[in-house]
């Protein structure tokens, strides 16, 4: 099982839970497992093109998965996934 740490904005979809667990060989499989248990949360983690939504950053332990293999990144049993919102703005 992989532990997934959620930011406050996504906890509304897990009944307030800050950490959830799910299984999968890759980040994409873990997200699919999350989606079957928490459909609303699953939607937030999927973009229409099947990739990662641009306003979401995903870390596998200390690494941004965009710089690894994205959703195909292989997840180690003991790894932690942290999801965080992109924080941006302008003048």
């Amino acid at each position: 099982m992989t532990t997934i740490n959620l930011p406050t904005i996504l906890r509304q979809h897990t009944g307030g839970a800050k950490k959830i667990t799910a299984s999968g060989r890759t980040v994409g499989e873990v997200f699919a497992a999350i989606g079957s248990e928490y459909p609303k949360l699953g939607e937030q983690l999927t973009s229409p093109d099947g990739g990662l939504p641009i306003f979401v950053n995903v870390f596998l332990d200390d690494e941004d998965i965009r710089y690894l293999d994205g959703l195909d990144t292989v997840v180690d049993e003991n790894a932690d996934i942290t999801i965080l919102p992109a924080v941006a703005g302008g003048r």
Binding site: P7, I9, D62, L84, G89
Partner: protein, 138 residues
């Protein structure tokens, strides 16, 4: 509703705004959910722009972990407007990631007398919050 911020936080945000000037400065705020803001985590604006900011995601992760150590959550974000009024822009509203967060704006329209104001941004609606900075104990 009045939002309280721990002693030193205002100075930390202003210092970061000056350090980054003329680029937009940004950082994260942490504390108990629905409680006072206890910590400021200055971060790098990876856009290095005077008109836009994006918080370095890796520093965001580090802030989450540091906050977690103390039982805190990330409860808001601050950024500066190096040349304009400290009020959320259309872009700020569009990109606001979380309606429960506090959005603190450092306005540097007048370089020597910056303003620090805070807002909630929910469904595109901006609500200003009153800020109360705690006195330093020392």
């Amino acid at each position: 509703m009045t939002v309280r911020l721990a002693a030193g936080t205002r100075q930390q945000m202003l210092q970061h705004a000056y350090d980054c000037h003329p680029e937009e400065a940004c950082g994260l705020l942490a504390g108990p959910v629905d409680g006072d803001v206890q910590r400021v985590f200055p971060t790098t604006n990876i856009l290095h722009s005077s008109t836009n900011y994006t918080i370095d995601p890796k520093q965001h992760l580090a802030a989450i972990r540091a906050a977690d150590q103390e039982g805190f959550e990330i409860v808001g974000v601050f950024h500066s407007h190096p040349h304009t009024v400290g009020y959320p822009s259309v872009t700020d509203v569009t990109l606001a990631p979380d309606p429960t967060w506090l959005y603190v704006l450092v306005g540097m329209e007048e370089y020597g007398s910056p303003t620090v104001r805070a807002f909630r941004i929910s469904d595109g609606v901006i609500t200003e919050e009153e800020l109360e900075f705690e006195e330093s104990m020392t």
